[in-house]
């Protein structure tokens, strides 16, 4: 880059990257997700995971939860740019380390094997509220809810117990206590 002959400046020093969970309340209308996601891709912001669904069918409000990384300046820009979108009502931003906020992801694991393997898999999931959604003679579908890195670890650990398929959601977030974000 230093020797490039361009009409533009060279990049400055990059700041420290933090992981943030951004929650966006939007009108549930055609194209709204594309507007939000397009803003991230268009401006070169990062999306680690995404969860979106309507939460109020009367008011037509959807809640989008985005896990992203960026310097403090970039995170600030993301929030301000999101607030400018017409269908966006409000934007909340939490740091991943924030103790006042609960973050959860859900994962489905399919394990195939004999009873011993299946049970070992189930036992390994014990910490994360496992629910058996489907069982056959040689398979389980196990649902767990946990943090991202915990699911990462589980997906690795279950391999030896016959894990054949993983499906997981993006993170959803909610503040602890009686307060809600306004």
């Amino acid at each position: 880059m230093a020797n490039s002959k361009s009409a533009y400046s060279t990049p400055g020093k990059q700041g420290k990257l933090d992981t943030h969970i951004i929650v966006v309340w939007v009108d549930n209308e055609a194209g709204v997700l594309a507007r939000v996601v397009g803003l991230f891709s268009g401006r070169g912001y990062n999306i680690e995971s995404l969860a979106v669904a309507e939460i109020d069918s009367k008011l037509n409000i959807s809640r989008i939860t985005i896990v992203t990384t960026g310097t403090p300046q970039v995170i600030e820009q993301i929030k301000l740019q999101l607030k400018k979108l017409v269908p966006v009502h409000k934007v909340a931003d939490f740091k991943r380390e924030d103790k006042k906020v609960i973050f959860k992801e859900m994962a489905l694991f399919k394990v195939v094997g004999n009873n011993s393997k299946k049970d070992k898999a189930l036992k390994a999931c014990k910490k994360y509220n496992p629910v058996i959604l489907d069982k056959t003679k040689n398979s389980y579908v196990i649902q767990i809810t946990a943090l991202r890195r915990e699911i990462d670890t589980m997906s690795k650990n279950l391999k030896k117990f016959g894990l054949v398929s993983v499906s997981r959601t993006g993170a959803v977030a909610m503040t602890r206590g009686s307060d809600t974000f306004r």
Binding site: N3, A7, S9, T10, K84
Partner: protein, 588 residues
């Protein structure tokens, strides 16, 4: 039973209630029902362009010179995609535009129908917002909402995509009452505390500077008046961005000229050395700041902007004030009068040393050039144009390139809304159609497009529009047969490898003018220039003026890069002859 109107009629009812007088457009299959209704609405005049990009730039010229939103009407598919450049241009330069586009009938959407494209998808990143209206009952409120979004907060383009079947369907129309104060998405968010803090900073500063931009122009003519009052009452120096030209009188002694890559030596040095920078409606663009790490290292920075996302985007500031420029300045002036009635007197002493320093920079006369008696120097041509038109309340548009920078340096503006140029996107071909739009808004004023021969050929077809509507625009081409700015960069940075920047075959512009049915004038020597310019001004028809200028001239001063504001490269008269080397090449 209330009267029912077709979608096409509703479009015009909405435009009528919004006070729209002109639309710029081009018909096509998917907008025919709307064109069919045009005859029934006499309050609206349709300007038929020759290409949809021209419609967009004309609407921009109209909007920027009149302060009203520009409206364009295009068909589906290619009509919409051709408008994309203009929409992006308007988005970058915060120009309020409402684009109405036709779409294939709803049942054909998604089938790759003839002239179908995903218009809302394509224009999503280049509009403030866009809508696909699938239900006739949503049409009225959508169009009114579109005008609201385009004109409130930081202005910008919007698009309403209307499928052909919706244009035929019928619905009620209730007369729209324009609210006195539209509740846009962005309100004034500043408090008196912010203003007090600013005044505290101002009274402490010994090297202050105002750095103002297009936000002042967008805030309305009142904002420019208030800015003048503020600057005079403080005695501070002021520099403006390319888009801010005209918001402060160009010949005033407190004005340091434009800043940035081709800005004046005094403006850039003052920006670098100041201890207080008050940014009013500018956005710390990369052509202004140069290398961010070394941008004005010793100053406290205040940023007044209506768009919160402009603040701390490129440059971290100490005091952000979110609000409309006119209202913020009003609050500042009011507070100064109340809290520090003799601010000017107490301050004069404090900043007198600063002014001495500025005068020293000024004496370098950085816009200077070596004139010639044989060939017309482009800077000389603009100076003469300025001298011969300055008493006429002239409107200037430009294309993009060297001529644009020379125009910004040598043409002095005294009022806002007189200077229309593509700054953010840098769209070659902007100036000619923009001049069409300006002339539509101001039929009796002198409108000149200062152009380069390469840029103007990109939208030359709009001369035909000018002729059709008897719009006497003047296309003042500084013809050097090169894409001048490209050539300049190649000379300075790419070892004079003039790769594809010379146009080996150009039309004869005088004959071209005649072919279009307008007037062609050519000037080849400096001594005939004045007479020819006067001839141009006195022609009440559209003119293409082919001004043959020096082919090698470069635009100075410039900030070479890797270098901060205080190390500008000056013109050929400068003895030091800084060479751009190594790292410096990247920033130019």
């Amino acid at each position: 039973m209330p009267k029912l109107y077709s979608g096409a009629e509703i479009v015009f009812k909405c435009l009528e209630d919004q006070g729209v007088e002109f639309i710029f457009g081009y018909p096509g299959g998917a907008v025919l029902p709307i064109y069919d209704e045009l005859k029934n609405f006499n309050f609206i005049k349709h300007i038929l362009v020759r290409h949809e990009q021209g419609a967009g730039h004309a609407a921009e010229g109209y909007a920027r010179s009149s302060g009203k939103p520009g409206v364009l009407l295009v068909t589906s598919g290619p009509g919409a995609t051709n408008a994309v450049t203009a929409l992006t241009d308007a988005y970058m330069d915060s120009v309020p535009l409402v684009c109405i586009s036709g779409q294939v009938p709803t049942h054909l959407i998604g089938t790759d129908a003839f002239q179908e494209c995903d218009t809302t998808g394509i224009t999503r990143p280049c509009t403030k917002h866009n809508w696909l209206v699938k239900d006739i009952n949503d049409l009225e409120k959508t169009i009114h909402k579109a005008f609201e979004v385009a004109t409130t907060g930081r202005p910008g383009p919007v698009l309403v995509d209307i499928p052909k079947d919706v244009q035929f369907q019928k619905a009620k129309y209730t007369k729209f009452k324009r609210q006195k104060k539209l509740n846009g998405k962005i309100h004034n968010k500043f408090s008196q505390k912010d203003i007090n803090e600013l005044i505290e900073l101002m009274s402490k500063a010994s090297k202050p500077i105002f750095y103002t931009g297009g936000g002042v122009v967008n805030s309305g003519p009142k904002a420019s008046e208030l800015l003048r009052e503020l600057v005079h009452s403080t005695g501070f120096p002021i520099t403006t961005t390319l888009q801010g030209l005209g918001s402060y009188p160009g010949e005033d002694s407190q004005f340091l000229g434009m800043l940035g890559m081709h800005g004046s030596y005094e403006a850039n040095n003052a920006m670098h050395d100041c201890d207080l920078m008050i940014n009013i409606g500018a956005r710390f663009d990369d052509r202004i700041t140069g290398k961010i790490d070394e941008f004005s290292p010793k100053s406290k920075k205040v940023h007044i902007d209506i768009d919160p996302s402009s603040i701390n985007k490129n440059v971290k500031v100490d005091l952000p004030i979110v609000g409309d420029v006119a209202e913020v300045i009003t609050a500042i002036i009011k507070t100064i009068k109340k809290v520090k009635p003799n601010f000017t007197k107490s301050n004069k002493q404090k900043i007198s040393k600063w002014w001495e320093k500025i005068q020293k920079w000024r004496s370098i006369n950085s816009f200077d050039y070596i004139n010639s008696t044989e060939t017309i120097k482009p800077q000389y041509a603009i100076q003469r144009l300025y001298e011969l038109t300055k008493d006429k309340d002239t409107y200037i548009t430009t294309e993009v390139g060297q001529h644009q920078m020379w125009a910004a340096q040598h043409y002095k503006f005294d009022k806002p809304n007189r200077w229309m140029t593509s700054g953010g996107l840098g769209t070659m071909g902007y100036g000619l159609p923009a001049a069409v739009g300006v002339q539509v808004a101001h039929p009796n004023k002198l409108v000149v497009d200062i152009a380069g021969e390469a840029s103007v050929l990109m939208t030359m077809q709009e001369m035909s529009t000018a002729v059709q509507y008897s719009l006497p625009i003047k296309i003042f081409i500084l013809n050097n047969e090169y894409m001048g700015m490209v050539r300049q960069w190649q000379e300075l940075l790419h070892d004079k490898n003039y790769s594809e920047s010379y146009t080996a075959a150009l039309p004869d512009f005088v004959k071209l003018a005649e072919a279009y049915g307008c007037v062609g004038i050519r000037a080849t020597t400096p001594d005939e220039l004045d007479d020819k310019i006067i001839e141009m001004i006195n022609t009440d028809r559209p003119v293409i003026f082919d001004c043959l200028v020096d082919k090698q001239e470069n635009c100075f001063p410039m900030i070479p890069s890797g270098k901060p504001h205080n190390q500008m490269l000056l013109g050929p008269k400068d003895q030091k002859k800084n060479k751009i080397t190594g790292k410096g090449k990247t920033l130019v």
